[in-house]
Symmetry: C2
Subunit: 144 residues, 2 copies
């Protein structure tokens, strides 16, 4: 159905433009998107291994290693040896990390809220409600 494909295309394009726009609007708002994703993943799922993080972000394992190293240098996460497997590393969020995540200092979310204010309240509410839906979609892998 062509209409459906066009709608999907427009949706993808809108998503790209929105994120691009938000990124440009947040002046060094603090953490990079990938860092924030990792942080939120760890907060929800608890201490996780590098490979699991990479799988969920999603990103490559080297990228996950680099992001975790950066977060560690910022004191937002700590790496502990996996008690059950000497090869693995478990990454856990620190108090500071949890605070950084909860804090609204994240520029993109602020920029998004700011723009939501310019929409009709019902539209803004619909978009915010779409968050969990999009989240579900992001977690869907494969054919679905």
């Amino acid at each position: 159905m062509a209409a459906r494909q066009e709608a999907a295309l427009e949706l993808v394009l809108s998503l790209h433009r929105l994120l691009r726009s938000l990124r440009r609007a947040s002046p060094t708002g603090g953490l990079q998107p990938t860092q924030l994703i990792v942080l939120s993943q760890l907060t929800e799922a608890g201490p996780s291994r590098i490979g699991v993080i990479a799988e969920r972000v999603p990103c490559s394992q080297p990228t996950a290693t680099a992001v975790v190293a950066e977060l560690e240098s910022l004191g937002l996460v700590r790496r502990e040896p996996d008690p059950t497997d000497g090869r693995a590393t478990r990454v856990a969020v620190t108090e500071e990390g949890a605070g950084a995540l909860r804090g609204v200092a994240y520029g993109e979310a602020e920029a998004l809220l700011e723009r939501l204010g310019s929409l009709p309240p019902q539209d803004a509410a619909r978009l915010l409600e779409a968050g969990p839906l999009l989240r579900l979609l992001a977690e869907t892998r494969g054919t679905g």
Copy 2:
């Protein structure tokens, strides 16, 4: 309102993860996201100048120049001198460009549709309907 901020944060995170996931799922599906955005902008707004393109994508002017150059080398757009201003260049979509845009070959849109199939139909419909809304949001600049 903290709940609203958390919802916005989750929305942003979901958007990032979704796009990241779609990008990884589409194997060199063809055009880069920025290229596709430029193409769609030109299709909707007609021949435009580099600066206008950069403003709408949004991206820096050098990025717009590079993207247009790449699209031109692919035969998807052509650059013509602005008849009213010798400094400016007008970029127009070619037949091939319009075809490339219309074609559903774009991997990310396909991957998105594929995943939408795993959602309840009403949820999928709601997300597709959110496209214009997100588009509106992406076009909002400044304080709003």
